[in-house]
């Protein structure tokens, strides 16, 4: 149970980083931390005690293996997170060239 609470703690660190920080790069890092907390939670859900990786091997019999379904799901999540990170970083580069700063309180032209 405690590992799930630690996952929630990691998620809250990322959420704090997004909500409280003003630098755009730190917000992107917070997004990454939240994503990895969710990935870690999925992997921990599929774990069984003393389980091995779900891969057949030639020489030995595997009796107790972990659940492979969350691992496949997390692999897809990592790919999508990569694409998301590329988009967000390119937006940050664009904003820095237009406004000359990463501080979100100084980007004022978006105000109505």
């Amino acid at each position: 149970m405690s590992e799930y609470i630690l996952c929630l703690f990691l998620f809250c660190i990322g959420l704090y980083c997004i909500l409280r920080k003003r630098n755009l790069i730190k917000i992107i890092i917070g997004l990454g931390i939240m994503e990895y907390a969710v990935n870690l939670f999925f992997i921990l859900l599929g774990y069984r005690s003393h389980g091995r990786a779900p891969i057949l091997s030639g020489s030995q019999e595997i009796l107790n293996m972990v659940d492979p379904l969350p691992q496949a799901l997390v692999l897809t999540t990592i790919v999508i997170g990569l694409a998301l990170m590329a988009v967000v970083v390119s937006l940050a580069v664009r904003i820095y060239e237009k406004y000359g700063t990463f501080d979100i309180t100084k980007i004022r032209r978006l105000r109505g």
């Binding site: 990786a53 891969i55 057949l56 091997s57 030639g58 692999l75 790919v79 990569l82 590329a86 970083v89 390119s90 580069v93 060239e97």
Partner: protein, 174 residues
């Protein structure tokens, strides 16, 4: 002194690429990082590339596979770009070549899938001698699919990074 040694190194690597810009501004002395980073990169980047190829080729009998190996292959080129500047890395693998390799990976995966229609299925294992299980030459078409995926992922990831770098410098020239 370190700048002089660096110039000599690059002169040794490619004789026509002597930097002719007269170091006008202080921020743009030399492309890339310091001498320590460049030396370590020169030693390790080939090993990283070989490890990526190993991960791809053993994808059907051990953890890893097309995606992980492709990411490692792309990271070796990104490592080169971070240490030496974008010209050296883009000379090894230009953006057009990365685009062509990416498209080649997609077409190769699709053609491997469509060749299965010879047997009446999609993704049909069309090799007659499938080899013994848990050997390197086994598992039929899965290594071909892994190679196609690694081409797609590696070239695509390098193209994303190169697009970010070139996009920034292209905007600065305006």
């Amino acid at each position: 002194m370190s700048r002089k040694m660096n110039n000599r190194e690059e002169n040794h690597r490619d004789p026509e690429a002597i930097p002719e810009k007269p170091l006008h501004s202080g921020q743009n002395k030399e492309p890339g990082m310091t001498l320590i980073v460049k030396t370590i990169t020169r030693l390790t980047v080939g090993l990283i590339l070989l490890y990526g190829i190993y991960i791809v080729l053993h994808g059907h009998i051990s953890p890893g596979g097309g995606f992980a190996g492709g990411v490692i292959i792309a990271l070796s080129f990104i490592h080169l770009m971070l240490a030496f500047g974008k010209e050296v890395a883009l000379k090894k693998l230009s953006e057009a070549a990365a685009s062509i390799l990416e498209s080649l990976g997609a077409i190769m995966f699709l053609s491997v899938a469509l060749l299965g229609f010879l047997g009446g299925y999609l993704f049909f294992n069309f090799f007659l001698h499938k080899g013994k299980p848990f050997q390197l030459f086994s598992a039929g078409i899965i290594p071909l699919c892994n190679i196609a995926i690694s081409l797609k992922v590696g070239a695509g990831l390098f193209a994303i990074f190169a697009a970010l770098v070139l996009f920034k410098s292209g905007e600065e020239e305006k």
